[in-house]
Structures are given as structure tokens and as C-alpha cells.
């Protein structure tokens, strides 16, 4: 049964009337209209749907909206097309995306990693990014972009 749910996404308050068990992903995409977050598997296996709740990376395809307690950040809230975040800038600099479909999720996972660990090793990257599949295999450049972002964030 649908109930009214309040949700803060990218600093903006929304009120949606949905079933509390509806995954956050489908509230974002089909109710609020934020389509930067992608559907890939629906079972928290591929990471395409990764968003932040209070800065923590979560898989929104498997996270019931009724259980969201904190503030949600999606790729649209990480930076704007005019002013991108350091992670996004590093992604462009390394020419990382190929088809690009998984990249919102990859970037959100990387941003959460870098805020918790400003100078990750390759092993840290392996652990933090192992939940994000890229069928194009952009992994070498994802790794390079994370290292570059860490460097530019430290210099900033």
C-alpha cells in the first residue's frame, strides 16, 4: 500500500506516495525523474544503481525507500554539468567511460571511497570497487581515474 514518504535528494525535499518496499532506485527514476542512476540487475550485484545515503555508497535497487533515513545523493547531486566534482573531472581526464551505462554507479562508489580514504591503494580500490561491474571493461581507466582524483583532491 502506498504511503506518503519524505525524501531529501541532492539537497531538495521530495514527497512521494509509494509502497515503502519500493526500491529507492525506482522512486528516483520513475517517481522523481532522476535517471542518472541506472538499473542493471535489481539484486545488488552490478552496482549500476549506486547512490549515497549520508555519504555511504548503497545499492539503490535493493534498498526499500521506507528504510531510508538519511540524505540521498545521486550522480546529479555530486556535481553539476557546469561544475563537476574532482572525481568526475578525473574521469573525463582519463577518458574513462565507454558505453557509460555503469559509470554513474562507478563514480558514486569511487566518491564514497575517496571521502573515506583520501589516498587509496590498488588493494583499497579493488575492495571498494569490486561491487561495480563494467561490461565494457573500463577498469584500467577507472583505477587510473581514482588515483588521479585522489591526487587532485589532496592538492586542492
Amino acid at each position: 500500500m502506498s504511503i506518503n514518504t519524505k525524501l531529501n535528494v541532492n539537497g531538495k525535499d521530495h514527497e512521494v506516495s509509494v509502497e515503502p518496499e519500493m526500491p529507492l532506485l525506482w522512486v528516483l527514476r520513475d517517481e522523481i525523474g532522476l535517471t542518472g542512476t541506472k538499473f542493471g540487475c535489481g539484486i545488488a550485484q552490478c552496482g549500476a544503481c549506486t547512490v549515497h545515503v549520508d555519504g555511504q555508497a548503497i545499492r539503490s535497487c535493493s534498498y526499500p525507500v521506507g528504510q531510508i533515513k538519511g540524505k540521498v545523493t545521486t550522480i546529479e547531486g555530486l556535481g553539476s554539468p557546469d561544475v563537476m566534482s574532482k572525481v568526475q573531472e578525473a574521469w573525463i581526464e582519463a577518458q574513462t567511460p565507454q558505453c557509460g551505462y555503469c559509470q554513474s554507479g562507478q563514480i558514486m562508489s569511487a566518491a564514497a571511497l575517496l571521502s573515506a580514504n583520501p589516498n587509496p591503494t590498488d588493494d583499497d580500490i579493488d575492495r571498494a570497487m569490486a561491487g561495480n561491474i563494467c561490461r565494457c571493461g573500463a577498469y584500467p581507466r577507472i583505477r587510473a581515474a581514482i588515483h588521479a582524483a585522489a591526487k587532485s583532491m589532496q592538492e586542492a
Partner: protein, 754 residues
């Protein structure tokens, strides 16, 4: 002379290609320019609009290059735009690209070149035949992204489009200023008069230039003058793909749009015996449940998740399948096909039987097997459709926009001009999105939503279990060695014919002998005296289709594993042996092998730290590609430490992008080698999602070093050639490490990987 006489004299018959297309074409019509579909667009009604040819659109905001190939990650929009910018003198920072409409004018010239004979044959005769295949390609008008053909197809076409437009703009400026055109120059979007430094923007000249008839094939610049080609540019699609604004079909929004999903028969070709949709129909947010012929159902709702839930609630008893219920039974049909007449015979020379009769204990035999594979694109199959007021609009990540358009038109005998395909970015293609099934079902659903647009999203499970799979395959090899290289190789390959499968679901004609079954074993530059390749095509109603590198995806594994086995049978170094086999392709092929050996510091199968090293070489899609893979044993299993790859692409348009594509092809191949398989139980596909059909992840990904060579006499694409040698290079490395020869994929049936 009568006109008819002229036509007859100029008429060519391209035997193999014409047979495939079912028609004979004359060059008289081929020489006519293609119609410009941009002149039919809404934008063309604006007063400042000008289109100088089908690839260039100029309005107040600047120059837009039409890049009519599917952007599925390979960077093709940028690659094609670079070619135009090179001749038109555009500033890369101002470049805009658009996929453009579905149109036969955007046919792929080079799609049928493979039919002209082997890719390595660069004799004058082969090149003439190859060029002649461009004629039927034009008449078939297939706008398709595949076969690693977009770059080779665009290389002359896009530069000519740019050069022709530049000429027209220069002539327009010359008229404007009353000076001679050859005194003017162009730079970064302007025509400049060096005599007085006056300049006019292309945007200001465009309307006038559009009235000037410039030659369609003006002279092109010498490579020494190239400013973009050969350098790496910032890809045009990348900013939008880092901030969430890139629009895939799944992201399309239309006013009043509904959300739908499908639930199709889990047994291919088996219909509905009985069903109960009442529970689904009563669920929250569900608008209606639609029957899709006898093949399944669609749920239309106001939210995709609600549609998914309702689809799960439909109760169906499905019919039984026509094919054997499980993998063992299916593979039995493959095995039995070896006793039928061959589907085709390739590369036959010498007398293998004679050599084998005398071989005695020197005969080497091996059987290899690969399973069916899913494409598993990151974005599941998705399309948005609207049917309203006699007009059909479909937004889809289509690898074949004209194919999608024609399939929708054929479904209801719709009139030309009523079906509009809007090609979005593709969340992965790999061949899957050259099919029309996901477009057709969206159309069928949209016919029943009273004119409202509907987005149809397949669940991952539907996607994985209703693919057009890479077929399984079995190869049986026999070989005999000379002291330094093979003396005789005989192989029988059984695999389902993709062309036959496609002919059952589309207008694609069945070609009889299907060259795809052998590609990657056939067409290899083997300077070997005795060769015989025979193919067999088991027939099953399991849909099979194009999967990155197609036949070469398994033939690379078969052929290169066997070459490694032959080398090992005589304790030969596999790299040294391969250098003996290039024949006519010396030295181009040798240089690729020598390069990869140099990169890896190759001294043999054993690495300095006790690891194993595997070598493989495949010629696919015209590109020589050699790889060496290093593996080592850890307490968690075999680790892939490093991949070296050398590839010869003829002309490297954008080296940084080529590197990404080759790495991508390798990772796609290694995923399939380690763990890729689609199996069957009870007539249904067993695998359903990434938990039981794993994809390679970042922690498994080795460093991949790529060297690009440019000795190849023709330019090649790079989307696929990285894949075929990666699989045998890994198998050969595992052999070097463990002594275990893995002849059946996926390898995780026999060894563990990290």
C-alpha cells in the same frame, strides 16, 4: 550508343555478394549520390538551416556532424567526427555530433567486404572485388553498427563529406567577396582571405554554400597534413557520461509515459498452454496486461518496479520446447551434426588424408568445446514507443536503425515515412542490439496504450534468458608437424548457423554455407601445405546471433589452442613457430608477433618468477592481433597478472581510444574464458543474473599494455579484434603454468581463478 548499351557495358556482377543479397546491381545507379535525409527533418524548415550533405548540418549554433553509427562505447561518434573535422577544418572544442535519423543513405559500404575472400589477401584482384562489394552494400542500404566496420566504412566517406563541404563553403565566400576561391583558406570554422585577413564563419556562409554543387569526392589531404587523425582527442560523449545526463533508451522521458515490462516464454518457440493474469491485473499501479501473441505477456503500469512485480505474479504453464531439454541433449545434436553433410568447406589445399595416412604416432588430435554465451549488456533491453495518429516513434539503442524501422513496418505493412527511429546512446551493444526483438515488442505494447508513450524495460532475468546467444561450438582437429611448423591441419567445426537463425526472425536471407562458423579458423595466414576446414550446422530453435567477434570468438580459442598443442608436441617455442607461418603476410603479420614478444620480453612459456605465459595470434576483422598473457598461482587460485597486446590497424585514428577498445575486447574475452556460459535445464536457460553469470570485476583485471602498429595496407576497426586471441592466450598460459590443457570453456570448470 544507346543508354541501354552503356548500362550493360558498365554492369558488374559481384558473384558472392549478389547471391547473398539475391539481386544483381549495376554501377550506373550506384554512382548516383544518396538522398540527404537531413532535408526531410523538422530542423530543415528553419531559415538558417543548411545541410551540405547527409553528414553535415549547419545552423546558427554551429556545425553538427551526423555520425550515423550506434555509440555503444566504442567512441565512434568522435572517430567519425574527427574524419570530418580533418577536412572541414573545424575546431575540436566546438564539435557537435548527432546520430541522426534512420536512413538507407547511411548504409555501411564495407560490411560485405569479408565476402570478397580472405582478409589477408591484398592482391590487386582481391582489392578490386572488395571494392565491388560496396555496390550491393549501397543497394541493401543497411545502416548497421557491427563487424568492426564503422571506421573502415567512414574513413573515405566522412573525410570526403568534410572536404566537399569545405569546398562549397570556400566557393560561397569567394562569391561573397568577388575573389577567386583558390586564394582563400579555411581554419577552425571560418573561411579566411589571407590578402586582407577578412573572415566569414561557416555559419554565415552555410545557406549560400548549400546551393553550390560541390563534387562528392574531392581530393583528400595527404596524411602529412593531418591535424586530428593519429592524435587523441577528448571524446564528445564522455562529459555527459560522467554527470548522469547521457540519455540511454531507458532514460527517455515523454509526456504521459507509462512503464512496462515483458514476461516471455522461457522455452524458445514454446507458447502458452494456460495462464492466469488476474492477480497481476489487480496489483497496484497496473494499467493492463497484454498478451504478446502466444509468446508471452507485457504488463503496463505507472512504475517499472510495479510492472516487474506484476509480471512475476502472472501464472503461466508454458509449452514444451522443440529442442532437447538440457545442455547434454543440445550438445548431442551438435555432436551428431558431424555425421551430416558439411555446411561448408574452407581453405582446402594439399591432401591432409595423404599426410595423415603416413603420420603414425605423429598425428596430434584434439577436441575443443565452448558453450552458448549471453551478451549481458549493462543496460538490459529497453525501448520507448509511441503509436499515435498514424505515426510510430521509437526511441531505442539500435545497432540497426533501418532494420528496426523495416521490422516495425513489416509487422503491420505500414507505409514508408510513418515509422521514426530515434537512436539513443546504447548501454552496451556487443551485437545484441542489432536484433529487433526489443523494438518490436515495444511497438506491439504501444499499439495498445491509446496513443500514450510507453517505456518497456526488460528485467535482467528476462534479458539473460531471452538473448540471441553466441552459439555453442565443437571443433575436432587433426594435425601433423614438420620440424619447424605444421605440415597438415584438418578441422571439423560444428556450430549453429547465425544466418539461418536470423532468417527465421528477420528478413535476412539464409545463405546456405555460413562463413561465420569457420571465421577465425578459416582465413588465418597459415603458410601450411595441407589444410582442410569443414563446418557443420546443427539446427535447433535456440536463437543465436552476433556476439562480439562472432565466429572468431570461439575459433580463436580452437585454432590457437591447437597451434599451441602442435608446438608443444615438438617442444617448439609457439612464438618462433608462428613466425614461420605468415607466408604472403610476411612481414606485416610477423611484425605484430615480434612486437608483442618484445613487449613481454618473451623467452618461452615459463616466466622468470615461475609463472606461465601464453601466446596467441588471430587475424579478425582485418586486424592482426597478437597477445601474451602472464598468469601465476596464488592460494586463492590462478591470477591473471598481465596482458600484452600488439594490433595492426592500418591507420590509427585515435590511439587512446583504440587502446580502450582493445582492452575492452580483451576483458570481454577473458570474462567468457573464465566463467561465461549459458546452460539449459527443462528447456530453459539456467543462468538469470550476475550472481550465476559472473562478469570480470576490477580486482580480477590485469594491467593491459597495448601497442598499435600501422603496417596493414587497409584501415581496420578495433571493436572486436581484441577478443579472439585473449581466450586462447589465457588457456595457453594456464597450460604453461599447470601443465593442464583446458579444451572446454569456461575454464572455471577445471581451475579456480582469483
Amino acid at each position: 550508343m544507346s543508354k541501354l548499351g552503356t548500362i550493360t557495358r558498365r554492369t558488374f556482377l559481384v558473384a558472392s555478394a549478389a547471391v547473398a543479397g539475391g539481386v544483381i546491381f549495376g554501377t550506373y545507379k550506384y554512382k548516383q549520390p544518396v538522398p540527404n535525409p537531413l532535408l526531410d527533418s523538422e530542423a530543415a524548415k528553419q531559415p538558417d538551416f543548411a545541410s551540405l550533405n547527409p553528414y553535415i548540418k549547419i545552423d546558427q549554433d554551429g556545425v553538427t556532424v551526423i555520425t550515423p553509427r550506434a555509440e555503444m562505447g566504442q567512441g565512434i561518434h568522435s572517430t567519425l567526427a574527427m574524419m570530418v573535422a580533418e577536412e572541414l577544418d573545424l575546431d575540436w572544442k566546438t564539435i557537435k555530433t548527432e546520430h541522426g535519423p534512420a536512413s538507407n543513405s547511411y548504409y555501411v559500404s564495407t560490411m560485405m567486404e569479408a565476402m570478397a575472400g580472405h582478409q589477408y589477401d591484398h592482391s590487386k584482384k582481391a582489392n578490386i572485388i572488395r571494392d565491388l562489394t560496396h555496390i550491393p552494400a549501397k543497394f541493401m542500404g543497411m545502416q548497421i553498427t557491427g563487424g568492426s566496420a564503422s571506421t573502415s566504412d567512414g574513413f573515405v566517406k566522412m573525410r570526403s563529406a568534410g572536404a566537399s563541404a569545405r569546398l562549397a563553403l570556400t566557393l560561397a565566400a569567394a562569391q561573397e567577396w568577388g575573389v577567386k576561391a583558390d586564394t582563400l583558406k579555411t581554419e577552425d570554422g571560418f573561411v579566411i582571405n589571407p590578402a586582407n585577413d577578412e573572415k566569414l564563419a561557416y555559419t554565415a556562409l552555410a545557406v549560400k554554400a548549400a546551393a553550390i554543387e560541390a563534387p562528392a569526392d574531392p581530393p583528400l589531404r595527404d596524411p602529412s597534413q593531418w591535424r586530428y587523425i593519429g592524435k587523441s582527442v577528448a571524446r564528445v560523449d564522455i562529459p555527459a557520461k560522467t554527470n548522469g545526463t547521457a540519455e540511454f533508451a531507458i532514460d527517455v522521458k515523454q509526456e504521459g509515459m507509462l512503464h512496462a515490462t515483458v514476461k516471455m516464454s522461457p522455452r524458445f518457440g514454446a507458447g502458452i498452454k494456460s495462464s492466469d493474469t488476474s492477480k497481476a491485473e489487480a496489483m497496484a499501479g497496473v494499467e493492463k496486461v497484454i498478451k504478446l501473441g502466444n509468446n508471452g505477456f507485457a504488463v503496463v503500469a505507472n512504475n517499472t518496479w510495479r510492472a516487474f512485480k506484476a509480471a512475476d505474479a502472472i501464472e503461466v504453464d508454458w509449452d514444451v520446447a522443440s529442442y532437447p531439454a538440457d545442455t547434454a541433449g543440445i550438445m548431442k545434436v551438435y555432436e551428431d551434426s558431424f555425421t551430416t553433410e558439411p555446411n561448408g568447406t574452407f581453405d582446402e589445399k594439399g591432401d591432409v588424408e595423404l599426410i595423415f595416412a603416413d603420420a603414425g604416432g605423429d598425428l596430434v588430435t584434439a577436441e575443443y568445446r565452448v558453450p552458448h554465451l549471453a551478451h549481458s549488456t549493462m543496460e538490459p533491453m529497453t525501448a520507448v514507443a509511441q503509436v499515435k495518429d498514424g505515426r510510430v516513434d521509437i526511441w531505442a539503442g539500435a545497432q540497426s536503425p533501418t532494420g528496426a524501422r523495416d521490422a516495425v513496418m513489416a509487422a503491420d505493412t505500414l507505409e514508408e515515412g510513418t515509422v521514426h527511429i530515434h537512436t539513443t546512446y546504447l548501454g552496451g551493444g556487443f551485437g545484441r542490439r542489432s536484433e529487433n526483438d526489443f523494438v518490436l515488442s515495444a511497438y506491439e505494447i504501444a499499439k495498445q496504450t491509446d496513443g500514450k508513450p510507453v517505456k518497456v524495460t526488460w528485467s535482467r532475468e528476462e534479458d539473460m534468458q531471452h538473448d540471441t546467444y553466441r552459439p555453442a561450438a565443437i571443433a575436432r582437429f587433426k594435425g601433423v608437424m614438420d620440424p619447424k611448423k605444421p605440415l597438415a591441419i584438418d578441422v571439423q567445426i560444428a556450430s549453429a548457423s547465425i544466418f539461418l537463425s536470423m532468417s527465421k526472425r528477420s528478413s535476412m536471407p539464409n545463405m546456405g554455407a555460413d562463413p561465420l562458423i569457420a571465421e577465425g579458423t578459416a582465413g588465418q595466414p597459415d603458410d601450411i601445405e595441407n589444410v582442410r576446414i569443414r563446418t557443420y550446422a546443427p539446427e535447433l530453435d535456440i536463437p543465436v546471433g552476433f556476439w562480439r567477434s562472432v565466429g572468431a570468438s570461439y575459433n580463436g580459442f580452437f585454432h590457437e589452442s591447437f597451434m599451441d598443442e602442435l608446438a608443444a608436441s615438438k617442444d617448439l617455442d609457439p612464438v618462433a613457430m608462428r613466425l614461420e607461418t605468415f607466408g604472403d603476410l610476411t612481414p606485416t603479420g610477423n611484425k605484430v608477433v615480434e612486437k608483442v614478444a618484445e613487449m613481454a620480453g618473451w623467452k618461452g612459456r615459463k616466466g622468470e618468477d615461475g609463472g606461465g605465459r601464453g601466446f596467441a595470434y588471430t587475424l579478425s576483422f582485418g586486424a592482426h592481433t597478437a597477445q601474451i598473457i602472464d598468469v601465476s598461482m596464488t592460494d586463492r587460485g590462478i591470477k591473471i597478472d598481465k596482458v600484452y597486446c600488439a594490433i595492426d590497424v592500418g591507420v590509427a585514428i585515435d590511439p587512446r581510444n583504440i587502446e580502450a577498445q582493445v582492452q575492452s575486447g580483451i576483458i570481454y574475452g577473458l570474462t567468457s574464458a573464465m566463467s561465461g556460459e549459458i546452460t539449459f535445464e527443462d528447456g530453459m536457460v539456467v543462468q538469470s543474473n550476475y550472481h550465476d553469470s559472473p562478469a570480470m570485476r576490477i580486482h580480477q583485471t590485469p594491467e593491459i599494455e597495448v601497442a598499435i602498429l600501422e603496417n596493414n595496407p587497409r584501415i581496420t576497426g578495433v571493436g572486436e579484434p581484441g577478443t579472439p586471441p585473449s581466450i586462447p592466450a589465457l588457456a595457453n598460459a594456464v597450460f604453461a603454468l599447470t601443465g593442464k590443457r583446458i579444451r572446454e570453456l569456461p575454464m572455471n570448470r577445471y581451475v579456480d581463478f582469483v
